[in-house]
Amino acid sequence: MARTLVSGNYAAGRTLALAGEANRFARGCCGGAYPITPQTEIIEYLRSHIFRKGRIVPVESEHSAMGVCIGASLAGARAFTASSSNGLAYMTENVFAAGYYRLPIVMIAVNRTLGPPWNIWVDQGDSLALRDAAWLQFYTESHQDLVDTILLAFRVAEDRDILLPAMVAMDGFVTSHTQMVCDLPEQDQVDLFLPLCDVPHQLRVDHPATVGGLTWPKETEYQRREIQKAMERVPGVLASAIDKFEEDFGRRPAGACTAYPDTRAETVLIACNTMCRTARRVVDERRARGENVGMIQCKLFRPFPRRELSALLRAAKRVGVLDRNHSPGSGGIFGTEVAATLQGRSDVLVQDYVVGLGGGDVTPAVIDGIFDELAGRSHSDEPIWTEVAA
């Protein structure tokens, strides 16, 4: 393992390549490559990597990038790609198809605001728009978290009990284009950690079947229920994968959601991606002044870890949700999920904050202000816009 100073995009590209190479003793690996800011360096890395048994196809669109992944996965290979923003939106039909085919494809989503108006900076509205696509969704807060989560994503997605694709998100520019020191794994470690990819329903010339054809309502409902059951198994499979990760790599990545500093805080902010790191600093400052505050990194968004989050919020009285996304007509998307998680808890006040849309800087001062706002509340209200007057 090498401690290396790398950008988020380099870390993601390198980790995808390692995971692809790790399948060289099985059916190999393949992915589609199509550029979009700010993920382009990932597919550039993949295109420049010489795979021993793999090929990255330079396609003409994100829709086809996922199409190639679907074909490769149906041929039994490990498949992956990366995209952002309008690229993810253009890919959407095949993103759903990959989920419904139950193919363990891994995609890096470098979060960028959907346009128009055109804006290349971060918010999480692009990947969250795909939350219903039968994909696992992970949101990572640092370069190390990103590397570790990509490896976990392959292991969980390809697990026989799951067999669903997985998206690993990072903040555009804030993570993708900044450099941090992190442990990049060696090939032999990844070989050990990732079992060979086996897609049980891959196309077989010795057992012809038709994949993805017509079904009646009953079979369709059954198939959707199977997807839900697989989603419900994710927290358990993820926990086992983290145990195995710790054995193989000697460090323990964060799980579905993680409380800081502990689960005893009364006033808690919930966040994802790099906002977590800023929130932690603010928590430290306020705790130094004697306040009983904390924060939770919500890394897993699909399936939404209701049980785990509930357990972490047992002592909470006030919960604020930082939503760097906006579902027009509703509000913040994490906020809705947290409110559903805490339904029946009349002792908890939940307030949603729409923050940092379009790459607005979520500084310690912004989060400090949100803590103040939350502390002064007597009841919860419509989502509060922090950058502009509501």
């Binding site: 589609g32 490769a72 041929a75 290979a77 010339v205 010795d206 012809p208």
Partner: protein, 303 residues
């Protein structure tokens, strides 16, 4: 339709499209698939079928009329999904052909960018378009393959624009092989599929596919209609090697375009006058003859 497949056989022993499929009587695709299966001569293909009648005919899960491993892809994605399949097949040194079986909607319209990109990359794919010149699966709407003067549900007064020249588009990609296929010319049909199967890289086959419901024609007359279309010059049979060397296989005879259009009720009165079609035929043949004269296919192209 068999619920369970023949176990552990890597050869195609059954008809590619098995009995029990839901194709309409007289559907050109039924015969096309039989002949494709025959030309495969036991080779088991991977088949990619986007949204079109070709995937509906397989029937509902868990049964399938297809005797080969088949994936129902999204509408625009056949050539992209096939790219993934052929990539992994090649990485694993498999020789099973990867075949896209698509309609004109998935080829000329929604899938044309994906098709163009796969052709430009010269992926090892045999791309087969059964062209019934209409969105048949959704009940008969215009496509860019619909000829001028044809009634469809979205051209209730007859289509104004002429049919897109897909062969010229594919030739412009300089793919190893492109050919048109006629259900009325069986030997030529089989030879072209075999030629395509023996080549590697991107190969494009275009078959005129009678659609009795869309063409408003008699199911039993489909093959005759294709023969008329070829003989009157409306649907030329030719091959293009590497996008540059041409060979015409059948030249028009005395057959009148009226023989073709009068047996279908999809043509408007203006089209039935046939002058518009005749102008198109003359222009098409002038260009095709010139291309063959200037850039003839060589004997060694024949496999």
């Amino acid at each position: 339709m068999s619920l369970f497949c023949e176990p552990a056989s890597k050869t195609l022993r059954e008809p590619l499209l098995r009995p029990g499929n839901t194709n309409c009587a007289g559907c050109g695709m039924s015969l096309g698939l039989q002949w494709l299966g025959e030309a495969l001569d036991g080779r088991m293909p991977y088949v990619v079928i986007p949204a079109c009648c070709g995937i509906v005919t397989a029937g509902a899960f868990p049964t399938s009329a297809y005797a080969a491993p088949t994936v129902a892809s999204t509408f625009a994605s056949a050539a992209a999904v096939a790219t993934g399949l052929t990539t992994i097949a090649e990485l694993n040194e498999e020789t099973h052909p990867v075949i896209c079986w698509t309609g004109d909607g998935g080829t000329y319209d929604i899938g044309v960018a994906t098709l163009s990109a796969a052709a430009e990359r010269n992926e090892n794919i045999l791309y087969f378009c059964y062209d019934n010149e209409i969105y048949g699966n959704t009940g008969g709407q215009r496509s860019s393959a619909t000829p001028a003067g044809v009634y469809t549900t979205t051209t209730p007064e007859g289509k104004v624009e002429r049919k897109k020249d897909m062969m010229a588009i594919m030739a412009a990609h300089r793919i190893p092989y492109a050919a048109t296929l006629s259900l009325a010319h069986r030997e030529d049909f089989l030879r072209k599929i075999r030629t395509a199967l023996n080549l590697s890289g991107f190969r494009f086959l275009l078959m005129l596919s009678p659609c009795p419901t869309g063409w408003k024609s008699e199911p039993a007359e489909g093959v005759d209609l294709v023969r008329f279309a070829v003989q009157c010059g409306l649907f030329p049979l030719f091959e293009i090697y590497d996008g540059v060397r041409y060979r015409i296989n059948v030249r028009p005879d005395e057959t009148l375009v009226e023989d073709y259009i009068s047996r279908q009720r999809r043509f408007t009165a203006v089209a039935a006058d046939a002058n518009m079609l005749r102008i198109g035929i003359a222009e098409q043949w002038g260009r095709l003859e010139a291309l063959e004269r200037m850039f003839p296919a060589e004997v060694q192209d024949e496999l």
